[in-house]
């Protein structure tokens, strides 16, 4: 437990000292279990002007195990319409699953998701969105993702 705490403390210190990249803000980091960050895609993209919120959940094996990351869907925020983002906020991203590495951090995950949004050409939901959302687990890490490259 102390490993993840120490590491998150370091990340928090770094964020407080160095700030976050452009378009990313730390909304809330009260404890070392759940953090909220906001993501905005800058420039001329299909998501211009939209602001989203990401919820990070850490377990005691962080950073060895990946955090559970999803978009916040509530009164203030919605999930972006993206081929890899389901309407319940779950994200299909390899770095959150099999490609996670302890070198990655909260900020780097946000940057990755930001670029994932920025590179989107067409706003559309995933093809199996309704089916997935209807019986999806609450924690996206419990989903058996099938990562595919649809470049």
């Amino acid at each position: 437990m102390s490993v993840s705490t120490r590491r998150l403390q370091k990340e928090l210190t770094d964020i407080k000292r160095d700030g976050t990249p452009v378009g990313i803000e730390l909304l809330s980091a009260e404890d070392f279990a759940t953090w909220y960050l906001s993501v905005e895609v800058l420039g001329n993209t299909v998501y211009e002007g939209e602001k989203f919120a990401l919820k990070f959940r850490f377990d005691n094996q962080y950073p060895i195990s990946a955090p559970a990351v999803q978009f916040v869907v509530d009164d203030h925020y919605t999930a972006p319409v993206h081929p890899h983002v389901y309407s319940n906020g779950h994200i299909c991203a390899s770095i959150l699953g099999s490609e996670w590495s302890p070198v990655l951090s909260v900020v780097s995950v946000c940057v990755t998701i930001q670029s994932m949004l920025a590179s989107c050409k067409k706003k559309e939901r995933p093809p199996d969105n309704d089916r997935y959302v209807s019986h999806a687990p609450e924690n996206p890490k419990k989903t058996r993702w099938d990562f595919h490259d649809d470049k």
């Binding site: 102390s2 590491r7 950073p63 590495s101 302890p102 070198v103």
Partner: protein
């Protein structure tokens, strides 16, 4: 995992990317040269066997201790004493912190100095510590003694080196303990470096031992070698044993024994008993080396001529028993079906000894000594080489003899064929001359004198046409064609 409070923000190059703190026991990967704390990378590999930075495949044995420069840089970072919140303002190099905590920090709890009670007390309070029993006893009698250490202890500053309530003067003892402590730390550091070097050397040694196999020569008496080897090979041949285990499972347990007389009991099952007793020519399958054991618990492929042959190898998958098993009064080397047939052994059969013109160095006479691990490796290699040379020579001689022999045979065959054809022609001629004396005698007469015109024999058609008298006359003449055997008959066969 230790956590230190560093005075200055450490250089980012000295921080582990997993825990984001300066390295603790840094290790560098052999494959991609990335450095991590040992604990961090061990945990990461347990989850995912990839380098966290570049995802190259990684295992624990790919980790080496980091460069000593890194270790020194990291060990010399200045840290605060962890008892800072209790009042200790001591700072030192990270590697000296355990010494400070163990010997000099005043805000660390220690056991009772008198070793009588179990109370833990801060080191700075040690001089004032009174065991509960002593307090009751010494209320009056030790009033004076109590007062003495107290002024002494009040003179000591809290951050000085150890000031136990004994008679150590504080001023002079300041330096030697610190020097000793520093020297101690350096020695410990060197020790850890040496230990890692020893570990590396040991693993290399082990690899070399394993590679040499039975030729590994520790500097002990040769008599001990079998035991040594069995001890050494024990560890190094686990995989080999597992490999054989399944073959052994196919054999009845009774056949796995090291009794020299047991071959006789196995003879009925061995087709080898039908073969003549083999000479001691045992070429070596390159993949299996000798393992000499006094009491093998599993059988081994045995290659030596020792009088007490241990571990006779009855291992023989069913399919190969007919192919490579031999009865031998002293040993029964039986190889799995992947081994090759021993040329020296069955040579007596395909080559009948009398009446052939084989050279003297027939394969049956070749005896190849078995691999003897009691000789040094270069000698064994030399003997292998000479065996190879012998084999090559024998093979060459064999090939030459066979070549010569086949040439002779071919020639004889050719001659025989020609003779036969000639005979056949003559018979045909005789027969046809009897049946058609008028028509064909001329041609046959002329053809006898003509020694350079073989096709005239065939004017009467294929030879077999004329073997019987022909009531309806000869069959239509075919165009002159070569003899049915495709060979011109010899030209100098005299008329019979």
């Amino acid at each position: 995992m230790a956590s230190y409070n560093y005075v200055d923000a450490p250089n980012v190059n000295l921080t582990c990317c997993i825990c984001r703190s300066p390295f603790v026991e840094p290790c560098t990967t052999r494959t991609c040269c990335h450095t991590f704390c040992y604990e961090c990378i061990a945990q990461a590999i347990a989850t995912n066997r990839q380098c966290p930075i570049d995802r190259t495949p990684l295992a624990l044995h790919d980790l080496l201790p980091a460069d000593p420069v890194i270790r020194n840089l990291v060990d010399e970072l200045i840290v605060n004493c962890p008892q800072e919140d209790l009042g200790c303002s001591y700072t030192c190099q990270r590697l000296l912190l355990p010494i400070h905590l163990g010997e000099s920090c005043q805000f660390v709890q220690v056991g009772c100095p008198n070793k009588r009670c179990n109370k833990q007390v801060l080191r700075k309070d040690v001089s004032e510590h009174q065991c509960p029993q002593d307090q009751l006893e010494d209320t009056d009698a030790s009033a004076s003694t109590k007062k003495q250490p107290r002024p002494g202890s009040n003179d000591n500053e809290k951050t000085d080196p150890p000031s136990v309530p004994s008679s150590t003067p504080t001023a002079e003892s300041g330096n030697p303990p610190a020097d000793l402590a520093a020297e101690n730390a350096m020695l410990r550091l060197r020790l850890s470096a040496l230990e890692s070097v020893v570990h590396i050397l040991r693993s290399e040694m082990f690899a070399v031992k394993h590679a040499l196999g039975p030729w590994y020569r520790p500097d002990v008496q040769p008599e001990l070698l079998p035991e040594d080897q069995s001890a050494v090979d024990e560890a190094s041949s686990e995989a080999f044993e597992r490999q054989l285990a399944e073959e052994i499972a196919m054999q009845p347990v009774g056949s796995v024994s090291d009794n020299p007389s047991s071959p006789s009991s196995r003879d009925p099952t061995d087709i080898a008993s039908y073969f003549p007793p083999a000479e001691d020519a045992d070429p070596i399958p390159p993949s299996r080396q000798t393992r000499q054991r006094n009491t093998p618990s599993i059988s081994r492929i045995h290659l030596s001529q020792q009088p007490s042959p241990q571990g006779l190898g009855p291992v023989s998958p069913v399919g190969s028993s007919g192919q490579t098993s031999y009865a031998n009064p002293s040993q029964t080397p039986v190889y799995p079906s992947t081994a090759f047939v021993i040329p020296g052994q069955p040579s007596g059969m395909p080559y009948p000894t009398p009446g052939t013109s084989l050279p003297a160095t027939s394969p049956a006479a070749i005896s190849i000594p078995p691999l003897d691990p009691s000789t040094p490796l270069p000698d064994t290699l030399a003997s292998l080489h000479s065996s190879l040379v012998t084999l090559a020579g024998a093979l060459g001689a064999l090939a030459a003899s066979r070549g010569a022999e086949s040439l002779r045979t071919t020639e004889e065959l050719r001659g025989l064929r020609g003779a036969m054809h000639g005979l056949r022609m003559q018979i045909h001629d005789i027969l046809t001359s009897r049946t058609h004396p008028a028509g064909t005698s001329g041609t046959s007469g002329s053809s006898h004198g003509d020694s350079s015109d073989p096709p005239t024999f065939n004017l009467n058609g294929p030879g077999w046409f004329g073997y019987r008298p022909r009531p309806y006359g000869t069959p239509p003449m075919h165009a002159p064609h070569p003899s049915p055997f495709g060979m011109p008959p010899p030209t100098n066969i005299p008329k019979l």
